[in-house]
């Protein structure tokens, strides 16, 4: 039985036995190469489920949307499962309300190429699941963005300015992010307003840098935001830097270990603190 067949069968069974009220997975969209979230509530609809390299969205994002409707089964790859871990750590969802159908993943393909985020993926297999659908996969991640690391701060500013110059502030990046769930985002604060609304590089930069900082120790580098951006902004430039700093300085990887405390909630005496003078 193929992975997809197994997935469909299990989804059907879970609904049949009323173990869950909805199965959150992927289905094909109206267009080739593009898939979308599927909310399967009837067992006969389980046949619409798919799982392949077109599955671009991080379904953990939709867990918040169906919160409170009962137990939900969700298809989760490595990155999605790490987002779920972050949501659990941050008490946004309850473990017993989620049934995780783990799947291994070899990367999302966008326009014929492996998505930027997926090229350096270190977690193709779910880190948390209730059952695994199919086998685990193992491959070596590519090293990317080395040239960005070599740049001076001024040069980095240039590169990032060129990226955010294109931003139209549609907030697709924020909206598709499972771990970007503030009831009122700082850009939407109006009393007082924290970020200007006119279209310019400096306000765009404020949004992207603030968002990146808010994601420190929380971003799982799934790349959903990068793939969602209608203007093709390489948001992984921000995400990678933040994740890298947290990894190198604090030895932590967001959502990688379900029983580990997240970076922003712990303090260790040996934490680097040379910024305190």
């Amino acid at each position: 039985m193929s992975k997809v067949e197994r997935l469909r069968q299990r989804a059907k069974e879970l609904l049949e036995r009323q173990e869950v009220v909805v199965v959150l997975g992927y289905r094909a969209s109206s267009r080739p190469g593009i898939s979308q979230a599927a909310f399967i509530t009837q067992k006969e609809d389980a046949r619409h489920l798919i799982f392949d390299s077109t599955c671009s969205q991080n379904l953990a994002n939709y867990l918040l949307k169906v919160k409170g409707k009962g137990r939900v089964a969700v298809v989760a790859r490595g990155c999605d499962s790490r987002s779920i871990v972050v949501l659990l750590q941050e008490k946004q969802i309850e473990r017993e309300k989620v049934y995780i159908l783990g799947v291994s993943c070899e990367g999302v393909v966008v326009q014929g190429e492996k998505s930027v985020a997926c090229r350096s993926c270190r977690y193709p297999n779910p880190v948390i699941y209730d059952e695994m659908i199919g086998e685990e996969v193992h491959f070596e991640p590519e090293t990317v963005d080395d040239e960005f690391d070599q740049l001076t701060p001024d040069e980095r500013w240039e590169v990032l300015s060129a990226e955010v110059e294109r931003c139209i502030r549609c907030y697709a990046c924020r909206q598709v992010c499972p771990n970007c769930y503030c009831p009122v985002c700082f850009v939407d604060a109006s009393m007082p307003a924290l970020v200007g609304k006119t279209h310019n590089v400096s306000d765009n930069m404020v949004f992207h840098i603030m968002r990146a900082l808010h994601m420190a120790g929380r971003c799982v580098e799934c790349g959903a935001c990068h793939r969602a951006c209608p203007m093709g902004i390489n948001l992984m430039r921000f995400n990678r830097q933040v994740a890298k700093i947290v990894r190198e300085r604090f030895g932590l990887v967001a959502g990688a270990k379900p029983d580990e405390m997240p970076a922003l909630t712990i303090f260790k005496p040996e934490d680097p603190q040379e910024f305190i003078r």
């Binding site: 109206s30 267009r31 190429e113 139209i168 907030y171 697709a172 909206q175 939407d188 006119t198």
Partner: protein, 348 residues
Amino acid sequence: MKVFLKHDDLKKLLEGIAREGRLFAPVKKDWYSGWARVSSMGEIVLRGEQAQLKGEEVNSREPAKVFVFPQSEVMFEFDEERAVEATEVPAVVVFGLRSCDGRAMAFLERFFVENRPEDPLVRQRREKATLIGVACNSPADSCFCTAVGGGPHERKGLDVLLREVNGGFLGEAETEKGEKLLAGFPAANEKDEAEAEKRRQEAEGKMALRIDLKRLKEVLDKGFNSPVWERLALECVNCGACTFLCPTCHCFDVTDETVRGKKKRSRVWDSCQFTLYSQHASGHNPRLNPAARYRNRVMDKFKYTVDMVGELSCVGCGRCVRVCPAGIDIRVAVAEILREEEAGKDGQ
């Protein structure tokens, strides 16, 4: 009057405009094309080149509305004593927009200018812009202009439409401005006209979708509380990509900013998909529910603007289909809405 422009003639015409720094056209920006001031013809990315780019992108990613309704524009500067209105807008020539965007321009004129009181900013910008459209011969699978009353070779809203034929373009003026631009070019012959017609029919043939617009309107008139919205909105993440990149979406917010001591009142694009859009000063928000925001977009395209100014505000450019991060397709939504109505009837 139809004229014929050899490739070289068009090149010379556009180069002349470009030398004055007034020419804007689609250029390669990423895997997509977008608007920029161009100085040489080599920068322009039209259908042929775009088809070679990755993905499906036969039109500029940003709609041509940016030329009459930019994402943000200063309305006036002010201090304690007085307000100084924004200075005159520069004259621009926009080359390479498609018929769908032309139709969207006509809509925006109808909405902002003919629909009184007029919006002087949009009027000025439209008056100062010359729109040279290029007929579309290779619609993408996300295109559906013919389903919403338009066509790939339509002139509406443009000043000039150029239709590619062997050896050059067939030029047709829609406005006085367009006639001036085309004055002096030789008349087209019947062969070229037949060729352009053939290409039009081929392009139209690539878009199979038909929508019963009258029935859709009737269904929407009664469909505000339909259960269909909750279902359709499930996948929607309520970002603003569809609305910001829609060539007819025209909502804006007004904001005051002080930049280096100068106080400016600007208007900026806003989107009905955002919670803040419908937030009242009292704190009440009539569209807090994401499904209500999703409904608003569909209602606006196919009902609200029809009620307000007598025109659909969907031109079938397909941008919302191409940019949606959730993979939502407005054509599927429309089909679902009509199907829901059918199912409802059966149940009675």
